[in-house]
């Protein structure tokens, strides 16, 4: 078929086709692009005055004619009916082209043709005419024809894959051309070149709108097609009302339909009544389009459109009875199948939303059905359930019908309808009515069994498309086991056929089938066939087979499948290796019968596809091996690792994992041949030159561990390793450098190394990052794939492995000894014990790796320099400086943060004076009670949150049973490495902690004071040897003891009166009154009177205050300001530095 008149375009295409090579083609394209660019540029440079005439003339055709001696120029113009216009145009042309109107022939042409003589231009020659034409075009711009031609060329060039970075404007401007050919080009090219995000498209909105609201149907089609194909949000917003109006006014067919779902979602609301009007339309074309619109509307908001339903049903009835359907809308005897299928979609959606009422009749051509239905309107008002059942029946009937007439109608229509019907049925929850169900299964059965392989490919495809849809429906309906096994058998047949498409679909549907519970075993029968498909030359089939294998894997067949996958891994192409290795790793982890198998699989995996094994996979192995308690397994793992190291070329990941495992556990192998520390070291060290910087730190740790495990030390090995350490001490990589420096310094320490480099503690259990990853990637696929569903079902299985190990939620408690409380008869102590059980639980939290704060990822655990088993967060600022950079270490060995032991001292010294802290805490509510380099105990108010890796504060609850000056003693011990630290601490739960200051007025005080007359409720004593202090100082002291001084109660200025409330289990709240009489002449003695409602309380309080007054701690400790008459009741200050002595004193 010849190209209609566009010679230039044909020539250009031929030129391109004739190009010998890519270079020539590019040259030709560049030339053409240059040409088009110039043309378009000239167009833009047009003189803007007289623009209107130019636009007018641009639509004209120029013919140059020679009549005898006279040369004439004829310009054909359309639409020139007006004489006034003619003369004005004549003037313009005369001026522009310097020519005179040809007077004689004017009338004859009645304004449509103009004859002009051109004295100044030599039009007689071909050259001259060319000159004139180009001049004409220069003045009036490109003709629409030329524009059209250039724009088509642009599209062609664009299609060839060249960048076209100009001319979009021209393409868009063609849309506004007045005539169809140009307009059409404009629309088509615009919709190909631009997308909805393009700015130029905005320029077209107005024109498109004009075309939509215009009278020309063809233009409307073009405009609507454009909107449908690329319509973006802006189009939707500005055009929706017009499209809506158009749909209401005119009878434009299909175009309106798909336009609407594509772009007008935002605007189409409240159309329901108009929709209803639309549905009254008799014209089938309008109905078709409005149905599509209705589908879109309903998909947005079904509520509003219920009113349309009866009408839809009526229309369908009309269609079904073949009444009043114009001949042109029947297709192979079927009334308007497209309309009907649109209805189906609409109903589908309506049902999808509410599970309500009818849809399927669309397909319905069984006329007697309508008789059953009777009145359609009343049908619409029936109950939902009935509606669903009915629709199901209708659907099934229509399926029957389709099956019966399948041969008569066009394959694709038949296919589309059947597929759609069954899709529609899948929208229902399930079919409940037994009769419906039975007949549906009959249909399905017929489809399943009656589909034969035929010669004709297209027919075969069509029938199988229906078949697979039927399978999907069977799965959806969750049919009886018998039917299911039939399906699986069928699929089993399919996966063995030669036809690749069918085989592919067989595998795919079998994967979906896994969702159905019972069929698992039946599918397993086909395992061998599926594994064969894994080796199919077609990657699509291999992928499906892999998916299926992955999905069908469970504990029983995991070993086979994983081994099959591993075997296949070595031959698989690169596109699949990553997926394959990930899937193998996940399956191995999920279904591993035992750990050594798992380790074995992963090591094989790393060996075969190292590049595709992500870090997660090897971290996971290390985690499992470390957390595993069975020594044999660990041993086997390290043996495997050792074997792999023997291979000449191994992947770096393998080096990492082997080095790590051997570092930790190679000493278990030491007796085997070839596994002495030295040999292990040598074989690992061989790999060092080949690995990247990320692996070197792991190797360094391994060396350090090997060194540590070599007992007795092997001098030569030590020297070798030290040489390596010192070599890397100046490495530019900070991680490597730090490790080298630290390990070097540590390994100099000899025995202490053992503790620091002890086996890694168990990792806290986490969700496998692999499984998580798999879940993530499965979430990608839109389908609710069977695999995903199964993964969800089997999460418990996934944990099988993990459960075998002890739960590691709790941290390694063993490092902290239990807190012991000395057994004391004193009631006060036993209450303290209760409180301390809290402390016991909480104290464990001082561990370096508190369980509440697992380190963010596995990487942190494995690649961190070493687990430093000391309280990292609680180191006091005044303790030894931490190693910030390893460089200083050489100078000062003691400065190592991770070397807790000073060379000469084997005991751990508390920091600060325990007694001093005790006394300070007697007066304060919070503060440090005990501190040594490894632990710090602090008493404080109850913390609200416990920050990770920071101090942990443990609330200590002490209940006072009865008044006593005895103190609770906290005997706590913990183990740091080999050092046992045991400290007995007096808790500052002194008497005054149970006091609550209360200010009393004279009116309250004196009656109380008088009522408590004499011993044992009121006691008086003269205290000597009091530390001299001013009255104000004493008042302060009393206040800090929570004995509030009430001024003004005693007329004597040298006396103090204080009051407080005492709380205990036995006394409840009890008011205590204190009077101190001082002697201004001798401040070392005073007389105090204590009164309270309880004799014991009075006595204890008196003794307590006396102790406070005579033994107030002073900052300068060594020369203890011992009162000369120190009594045995007051704790001997000299002994305070020894906690044991404190206890002894107390007992």
């Amino acid at each position: 078929m010849a190209l209609s008149g566009m010679r230039g375009l044909s020539v250009f295409i031929s030129d391109i086709r004739n190009c010998q090579n890519k270079e020539q083609e590019r040259l030709r394209v560049d030339k053409e692009l240059g040409n088009i660019r110039t043309r378009f540029k000239n167009e833009k440079a047009m003189n803007p005055s007289s623009c209107s005439w130019k636009a007018f003339l641009s639509d004209a055709m120029v013919v140059i004619s020679c009549k005898g001696t006279k040369v004439g120029l004829i310009i054909f113009l359309h639409h020139m009916h007006n004489n006034k216009c003619q003369s004005s145009l004549a003037k313009f042309i005369s001026a522009e082209f310097r020519c005179e109107p040809l007077t004689g022939s004017e009338k004859r042409n009645r304004g449509h043709i103009w004859h002009l003589v051109t004295p100044s231009l030599p039009l007689s020659t071909l050259e001259g005419r060319g000159q004139f034409c180009s001049r004409f075009r220069r003045i009036v711009g490109l003709s629409p024809y030329e524009k059209k031609k250039y724009v088509w060329k642009m599209l062609y060039i664009y299609m060839l894959g060249y960048d076209v970075d100009f001319g979009h404007m021209e393409a868009v401007s063609l849309i506004s051309a007045p005539k169809y050919p140009e307009k059409q080009v404009g629309y088509i090219v615009t919709s190909c070149l631009l997308n909805e995000n393009h700015d130029f498209l905005r320029l077209a909105i107005n024109t498109v709108r004009n075309d939509i609201i215009g009278r020309n149907e063809t233009f409307q089609c073009l405009a609507l097609t454009l909107v449908g194909n690329i319509g973006g949000r802006e189009f939707a917003e500005s055009l929706a009302p017009d499209v809506q109006k158009l749909l209401l006014q005119t009878a434009r067919e299909e175009e309106g339909c798909t336009v609407s779902p594509a772009s007008f979602q935002k605007k189409i609301q409240m159309w329901s009544d108009r929709m209803a009007q639309l549905l009254d339309e008799r014209d089938m074309g309008v109905l078709t389009s409005s149905m599509s619109l209705l589908v879109a509307l309903v998909s947005n908001n079904h509520e509003a459109y219920w009113s349309c339903l009866p009408k839809c049903v009526k229309i369908l009835e009309r269609l079904a009875r073949n009444q009043d359907v114009p001949q042109e809308y029947t297709y192979y005897g079927i009334p308007s199948p497209w309309l009907q299928s649109n209805y189906s979609l609409c109903f589908e959606l309506l049902l999808h939303w509410t599970c309500n009422k009818g849809k399927a009749e669309i397909y319905l051509r069984n006329f007697d059905f309508w008789h059953e239905l009777g009145d359609t309107d009343s049908w619409c008002s029936r109950e939902q359930r009935e509606g669903v059942g009915l629709i199901n029946r209708l659907n099934i009937k229509s399926l029957w019908w389709l099956l019966d007439h399948g041969c008569d109608i066009d394959a694709l229509i038949n296919l589309t309808l059947q597929v759609k019907t069954m899709r529609a049925l899948q929208y229902f929850p399930t079919v409940e009515d037994p009769n419906t169900r039975r007949s549906l299964f009959e249909v399905l059965q017929r489809i399943l069994m009656g589909t034969d392989v035929v010669k004709n490919v297209n027919k075969n495809n069509a029938s199988h498309a229906v078949l697979f849809e039927a399978l999907a429906l069977v799965m959806h309906l969750d049919a009886e086991k018998e039917m299911m096994s039939q399906c699986v058998a069928l699929l089993g047949k399919f996966i063995a056929v030669r036809e690749p498409n069918i085989r592919y679909l067989g595998l795919e549907n079998m994967t979906r089938m896994l969702m159905v519970t019972d069929v698992h075993d039946i599918i397993k029968r086909h395992q061998a066939q599926i594994i064969t498909s894994l080796k199919d030359p077609d990657i699509s089939i291999r992928r499906r087979a892999l998916d299926l294998l992955y999905g069908m894997c469970d504990v029983s067949n995991a070993k086979d499948i994983v081994e099959e996958l591993l075997q296949y891994l070595s031959s698989a192409d690169f596109a699949m290796r990553e997926e394959l290795s990930l899937k193998a790793a996940i399956l191995a982890e999920k279904f591993a019968p035992d750990l050594s198998w798992y380790v074995d699989v992963i090591l094989q995996l790393i060996d075969k596809a190292g590049d595709f094994v992500s870090d997660d996979i090897w971290f996971r192995v290390v985690q499992f091996v470390t957390n595993n308690e069975d020594l044999q397994v660990t041993e086997a793992a390290s043996l495997k690792a050792r074997e792999y190291l023997d291979k000449p070329a191994i992947h770096e990941t393998m080096v990492k994992v082997s080095a790590y495992i051997l570092g930790e556990y190679s000493h278990l192998l030491a007796r085997r041949p070839g596994c002495s520390p030295k040999e292990i070291f040598n074989i690992i060290h061989e790999k060092l030159p080949t690995v990247s910087t990320s692996t070197i730190p792991i190797l360094l740790s391994t060396y350090a561990k090997i060194l540590m495990h070599t007992q007795p030390p092997d001098q030569e090995l030590q020297k070798q390793i030290w040489a390596i350490f010192s070599k890397y001490e100046s490495c530019i990589d900070a991680e490597i450098q730090q490790r080298a420096v630290e390990y070097h310094a540590l390994s100099m320490k000899g025995a202490a190394l053992m503790d620091i480099l002890a086996e890694m503690p168990k990792f806290p259990e986490r969700q496998s990052s692999l499984i998580k990853k798999a879940e993530d990637s499965e979430a990608d696929t839109a389908e609710q794939s069977a695999i995903k569903l199964r993964a969800q079902q089997q999460t418990s299985n996934a944990l099988v492995l993990t459960d075998q190990r002890p739960a590691n939620g709790t941290p390694p408690v063993s490092q902290l000894g239990l807190v012991k409380v000395p057994n004391m008869s004193n009631a006060d102590q036993s209450t303290a014990e209760q409180g301390l059980t809290h402390a016991n639980g909480a104290l464990t939290v001082v561990d370096p790796q508190p369980p509440s704060t697992p380190s963010p990822d596995l990487l942190g655990d494995l690649l961190g320099p070493l687990a430093i088993e000391g309280p990292s967060g609680t180191a006091p600022p005044q303790s030894e400086p931490r190693v910030a950079s390893g460089l200083e270490v050489g100078a000062n060995e003691d400065a190592l943060a991770i070397a807790p032991v000073e060379e000469q001292a084997n005991t751990i010294q508390p920091i600060g004076d325990i007694a001093e802290r005790f006394h300070a805490l007697c007066l304060k509510d919070s503060g440090v009670l005990y501190e040594d380099p490894y632990i710090q105990m602090e008493l404080s108010l109850v913390p609200e949150t416990i920050p990770p890796r920071a101090q942990v504060q443990c609330p200590l609850e002490v209940i006072n049973l009865q008044p006593s000056r005895d103190l609770p003693v906290l005997d706590f011990s913990y183990k740091f490495g080999t050092h046992m630290v045991n400290v007995k601490l007096r808790l500052p739960a002194v008497l005054n902690k149970f006091l609550q200051p209360i200010m009393v007025s004279p009116e309250e005080f004196f009656p109380q004071w008088r009522s408590l007359s004499g011993p044992p409720l009121k006691l008086q004593e003269v205290v000597r040897g009091v530390r001299p202090m001013l009255l104000a100082e004493m008042a302060n002291l009393f206040n800090s003891l929570r004995l509030i001084v009430c001024p003004g109660l005693d007329p004597n200025a040298n006396n103090l009166v204080a009051s407080t409330t005492f709380y205990s289990e036995s006394t409840r709240a009890m008011l205590c009154l204190i009077r101190i009489e001082t002697d201004p002449a001798d401040r070392t003695q005073l007389r105090m009177t204590i009164a309270s409602g309880d004799p014991a309380l009075t006595f204890e309080l008196k003794e307590f205050i006396k102790e406070q007054l005579v033994s107030i701690p002073v900052p300068s400790r060594p020369p203890a300001p011992m009162p000369p008459q120190a009594r045995p009741t007051s704790p001997p200050l000299a002994a305070l530095s020894d906690p044991g002595a404190i206890l002894a004193g107390l007992l």
Partner: protein
């Protein structure tokens, strides 16, 4: 916006992931509203694009029903060509392409490729390619690649009659041929 949201609740999880996947597939940044619009398409399985390429990878027709940048389009064409061209005729007609599926069919030296959802009925789309070819064959009376090269603009017109906004809009050969005749009269 509210009704859109309502719509999205049908199956929020899967629809959202579709939209995200879509974003990822064609790694573009775009407004929220467009994502919502696309949700609609999920219900009627949308054709993402249709490509006609010869064995050398020359594109003879390319139509996208989702907005793509130019560079992305060229990349997609290149990738799809590479994906299908070396496939044995004995292989399946379906290839996974990123997160979608390409249904292709080869006629002589020409590959017709449709990009659809993973869950779509593959065979039905395979047959629709055949229908398109039949229409072309009818229109050009015994179509060959040259017809499509020199009349590529006609092919675009026919395609517009056959597929609109990513959906099959007309499945009748006759109707399309008649419509084309009608349009040609106007030129």
């Amino acid at each position: 916006m509210s009704h859109l949201f309502e719509f999205a609740t049908i199956d929020l999880a899967s629809k959202n992931s579709v939209a995200e996947q879509h974003d990822r597939l064609f790694n573009r940044s775009k407004g929220r509203a467009r994502v919502d619009l696309r949700l609609i398409h999920q219900l009627h399985s949308l054709i993402r694009f249709i490509l006609l390429q010869n064995r050398q990878g020359k594109t003879r027709l390319a139509k996208y029903y989702i907005p793509l940048e130019e560079s992305e389009k060229h990349k997609v064409e290149y990738e799809v060509h590479r994906l299908v061209v070396n496939r044995d005729p004995k292989f399946t007609n379906f290839v996974e392409f990123r997160t979608h599926k390409v249904i292709y069919r080869r006629y002589a030296g020409l590959f017709f490729s449709l990009c659809v959802d993973i869950t779509d009925n593959e065979l039905a789309y395979l047959e629709s390619i055949h229908l398109f070819v039949e229409i072309l064959d009818h229109f050009f009376s015994n179509v060959c690649e040259l017809d499509l090269v020199f009349n590529f603009h006609k092919v675009y017109l026919i395609l517009d009659e056959f597929i609109l906004a990513g959906e099959l809009q007309e499945t009748s050969k006759k109707a399309i041929i008649e419509r084309m005749g009608e349009l040609e009269k106007q030129e």
